[in-house]
Symmetry: C2
Subunit: 350 residues, 2 copies
DNA sequence: TATTAGCACTCGTTATTTATGAGTGCTAAT
DNA sequence: ATTAGCACTCATAAATAACGAGTGCTAATA
């Protein structure tokens, strides 16, 4: 029998149901859940006293805590975690497959516009903040290189990737070149670089090409230009939208939490590096409170899903909100959106 | 003699000095300025009673107000306005000319990166929010058009403007075309469109070209493609950075003001349309409180300066902060930055 | 053995009361 | 025109009291 001194054990059926209901109730109301009103509201055939005993046990086990001695209980991170796990167990992701409707993004052919509309959509539907990590250009495969002349000593290099990403960069060239020569270079570069990822190109291909016996000054110049143009690509970008939603949540504006928010706005890199860790993982991932392993962010949760091009995971999307987040609503949203984005990008890069 | 019942008159020397000092003091401390401590701090050879009389006059004249009966005075919008006008009278903008140092932006050749670094710089130096309105693409002059093939039925149109803005847009074409044909089109379009603003091109040139007797199906197709590609350009974009700075200002987070902030974040268009009004004006403009004629934004001020390419005003930059803003610091910053941006863009579009 | 009723106690919340003090307006003297 | 003097105001802060939802514990109950 539970004697109140254990700190780890499996919850029985009833405890489990009650814990989940408490978390649910707290997510809804935002108020500490007390035994009397809770028993009443959820029509448990239990007396408040019994409920108190159970709550006491759940507290000892680390799922609940009291903000102060004589208040009701609120979930700890562990409590949320338990609730979320239960959610995920019963969550049938395939159910949503059929609903996937990409019309919202469909009209956009420009990749960066897609990023914007995905984050906007995530934030608007969830009423929290939406976030998207773009595919890392380094990992995307080059399809085409074109160089066009702007000035006698300035050219514009355009690189198009299979995903439809368009990189443009101006490069200053030291010698005079003609547009005809540049067209020549473009063909040469496209034929040599096409099919390789930017990463490979920067790490190996350029080197190989330079080592090539058939090389000429012209080709050297072409490679110089390409190398300069592609040098600073590589990092994926992060897009956040809907911070204002978080500012509308009273508990987030409260002194202590506000700083977390400001940190998120200021240092998008915090979120970026977290998302980067989850690109490779499969399916929905949820980070609750302290599970976001960053001392600058507290009281927040992140629901995230990777997205793929073909079978290759390339980026991630997510929703950021308070730990007291409506996971039940957000999880399917993120899941669904991740799949929609995967589908869209895959089709775009055929 | 001032009898306290007038509502409009010129301030005498002493009143003017005192009003400016009161505004200055309030900007510094954020606390209502009371007669006793103020006289002391600023070593006026006046008794508090006299100061009270003067304050009373200034209040009657609409420059000051009392948050409540027995509190000190705080400036009204009109008070800030008076202070700012005094500032601007003594402000020697040429003084800063020599300091202009564009190194900060220098390394960036990409126009959109420049926008980002300008807004970031403005917000970091001012500790408020920095904002920049990009040149309206419609008003920029086309320099070059290039079409390259992506798929058999998909082409990428690249338009470069004199300012160095690069517009790219994918276009689906219904008939098969070869890269050679596209190169042909590119030359044709560049020769016909170069030197005209996007606005002119969309409004007139396309029409004229279509009317041209020498027209051919090929040329029609080229025009179709260009028209599609340029169709959705035109609007200038707005860039805001440093909202978090505003959130760190206690008076802005206070319930009533917070909403102004959220509105600014949410509807960047508010700020955009305000800046657009000031593109054509000469030099620094300052909007204080209600002077920002938008019911959704209260308690904010905007310091803005247009910037030019050559002699043509094309955009504007600015700083947004609380009405209690450190104008003395922000005005030169915005002025200076406006000039730096003008210089840089002018040089870039030679 | 698990549940429950009963009860004293805790403590955040809200309302009320009571200083405190910086500030005001007014009047009369300088 | 300036100032000293004084009664008055009122936001702010601290102290006090009442409230009530909630707790832990004990002893009775099924």
């Amino acid at each position: 029998m539970p004697n109140g001194f254990e700190t780890e054990r499996i919850l029985d059926e009833r405890e489990s149901a009650i814990l989940n209901s408490i978390v649910y109730e707290y997510i809804e109301t935002g108020k500490a859940v007390g035994s009397r009103s809770f028993v009443q509201k959820y029509s448990f055939s239990l007396s408040p006293a019994t409920m108190r005993n159970i709550m006491y046990d759940l507290e000892r086990l680390g799922y609940l805590m009291q903000p102060h001695t004589s208040a009701g209980r609120i979930p700890t991170d562990k409590g949320y975690r338990y609730y979320v796990n239960s959610l995920l167990e019963n969550y049938d992701s395939s159910f949503h497959d059929m609903e996937i409707d990409e019309k919202i993004f469909q009209k956009e052919l420009q990749l960066d516009k897609i990023f914007e509309s995905v984050t906007r959509m995530l934030s608007m539907v969830s009423r929290y903040a939406g976030v998207m990590l773009s595919p890392k250009p380094d990992f995307t495969v080059l399809k085409l290189v074109e160089i066009i002349q702007l000035e006698s000593s300035e050219v514009l290099v355009i690189a198009v990737t299979r995903t439809g990403m368009i990189l443009t960069r101006k490069v200053i060239v030291s010698v005079r070149v003609t547009q005809d020569e540049l067209s020549e270079y473009s063909k040469y570069l496209t034929s040599e670089l096409c099919g390789y990822s930017l990463q490979e190109i920067k790490d190996n291909i350029f080197g190989e090409l330079r080592g090539d016996r058939k090389s000429s000054t012209n080709r050297e110049l072409a490679i110089d230009i390409a190398q300069l143009a592609l040098a600073e690509t590589g990092e994926s970008s992060i897009n956040i939208d809907g911070i204002e939603n978080l500012l509308r949540i009273p508990e987030m504006v409260e002194e202590s939490r506000l700083n977390s928010l400001l940190n998120i706005i200021e240092e998008k890199n915090i979120i970026k590096s977290i998302l980067e860790k989850h690109v490779e993982s499969e399916g929905i991932k949820i980070l609750i409170g302290e599970e976001i392993d960053n001392e600058k962010v507290t009281g927040c949760s992140l629901v995230t899903s990777p997205y793929k091009i073909g079978n290759k995971p390339v980026g991630a999307i997510g929703v950021i909100g308070p730990t007291r987040m409506d996971y039940e609503k957000v999880v399917p949203l993120v899941d669904y959106t991740g799949k929609a984005v995967s589908g869209l990008l895959t089709r775009m890069s055929k």
